[in-house]
């Protein structure tokens, strides 16, 4: 989902940066407050960041014959709420932009918006909705993580379609083309991300039931399940 360095017109680059900045600042404050109030959650915060690091480094082949990578933002969004993923996503994207020439500084705002804002907010909303509809914990986690992943790539397609409307078909035609590259490729990867997030939640629920209960992620009746 990385829009490459320099591949957004300057107005778009500035606009997306301005749109993402408040989330990163607010997220940083949320992280600081959380670490101050509950220092014992520091390690788990590190796990959320580490998960995003691992998953966004894995470029997986897909049915469309191209490769893409998951985002790993669902875990942190479910554990800590969506805003804390904005600064974490910024670290991941900066690492890739500066050292790997993957993504870029001028497109950082747009990439952040897709991966570290739309994705996590979608994850948190879907998780809540699924829990509200009495889906099991594992199913809710799966839906949240995989839809967050998919929506991240849909957002990237929208961003590119907005910046580069098709000369004939306009925005819609362009979106279909970009979504054909990003969103379709992403479907099996999103499923993989959902499954992997369930795996890590299973491990956390088994070995850290108290933390998850304290964070109100799981109910007390589900600890032993």
């Amino acid at each position: 989902m990385h829009i490459m360095e320099g591949f957004l017109p300057i107005e778009h680059a500035v606009g997306w940066t301005l749109a993402s900045a408040p989330f990163v600042i607010y997220g940083l404050r949320a992280v600081r407050r959380r670490v101050h109030e509950q220092p014992e959650q520091r390690m788990l915060l590190g796990v959320a960041a580490a998960f995003a690091f691992v998953l966004s480094a894995l470029k997986l082949p897909s049915v469309t014959g191209s490769c893409s990578h998951p985002t790993g933002t669902g875990l942190g969004a479910i554990l800590f709420g969506p805003v804390i993923m904005a600064p974490i996503g910024a670290v991941v994207l900066l690492f890739q932009a500066l050292l790997l020439a993957h993504g870029g500084l001028t497109t950082l705002g747009a990439n952040l918006f897709a991966m570290a804002i739309v994705g996590p907010f979608a994850a948190a909303a879907v998780f809540r909705l699924a829990r509200g509809l009495k889906c099991s914990f594992a199913v809710s986690v799966f839906l949240a993580a995989s839809l967050a992943d998919l929506l991240t790539y849909v957002t990237t397609s929208l961003q590119l379609a907005w910046a580069f409307p098709d000369p004939v078909g306009g925005f819609a035609a362009s979106f279909v083309k970009f979504a054909g590259i990003f969103a379709i490729t992403q479907i099996p990867l999103a499923i993989s991300e959902g499954l992997l997030t369930v795996v890590i939640f299973n491990a956390l629920a088994r070995f850290n039931p108290r933390e998850l209960q304290d964070m109100k992620v799981i109910g007390s009746s589900e600890v032993r399940a």
């Binding site: 490459m4 788990l44 796990v47 691992v54 897909s62 191209s66 590119l160 590259i181 299973n202 850290n208």
Partner: protein, 118 residues
């Protein structure tokens, strides 16, 4: 049961990743006779599509640092994954031990309570 479930989930992820490799056919070579590359990055395909939609568009900024080669890039990606996986592994290791000790303590407290009652 849980361990079983995780194993099955991991197998499913492996299958989802491996199936495309086996199922996607390499398209016929183009007019220039060069074999078509498959499983390239979606990001690069999007870049090529921008070139088609807006042929006059010129990227206005270059990456500050570019990995010297594909090998160096894969080194950095491996490093990124290793750092993350290492941390998760460390945390789970700590958690397993802590949970074990917690159970040990409650067990001992229970037997102690039983002893004094006698």
């Amino acid at each position: 049961m849980k361990r079983h479930q995780n194993l099955l989930l991991l197998v499913a992820v492996a299958l989802l990743t491996a199936l495309p490799l086996w199922q996607v056919q390499r398209p016929e070579a183009g007019a220039d006779g060069k074999p078509v590359d498959i499983f390239t990055g979606a990001d690069n395909r999007a870049m090529a599509l921008i070139g088609q939609i807006a042929p006059s568009y010129q990227p206005w900024f270059e990456p500050l640092l570019e990995p010297a080669s594909g090998e160096v890039a894969s080194l950095l990606f491996a490093l990124q994954a290793a750092l993350g996986a290492g941390f998760i592994g460390y945390y789970l290791g700590v958690s397993v031990t802590r949970e074990k000790m917690r159970r040990e303590v409650t067990r001992r407290e229970e037997t102690d309570a039983g002893d004094t009652a006698c």
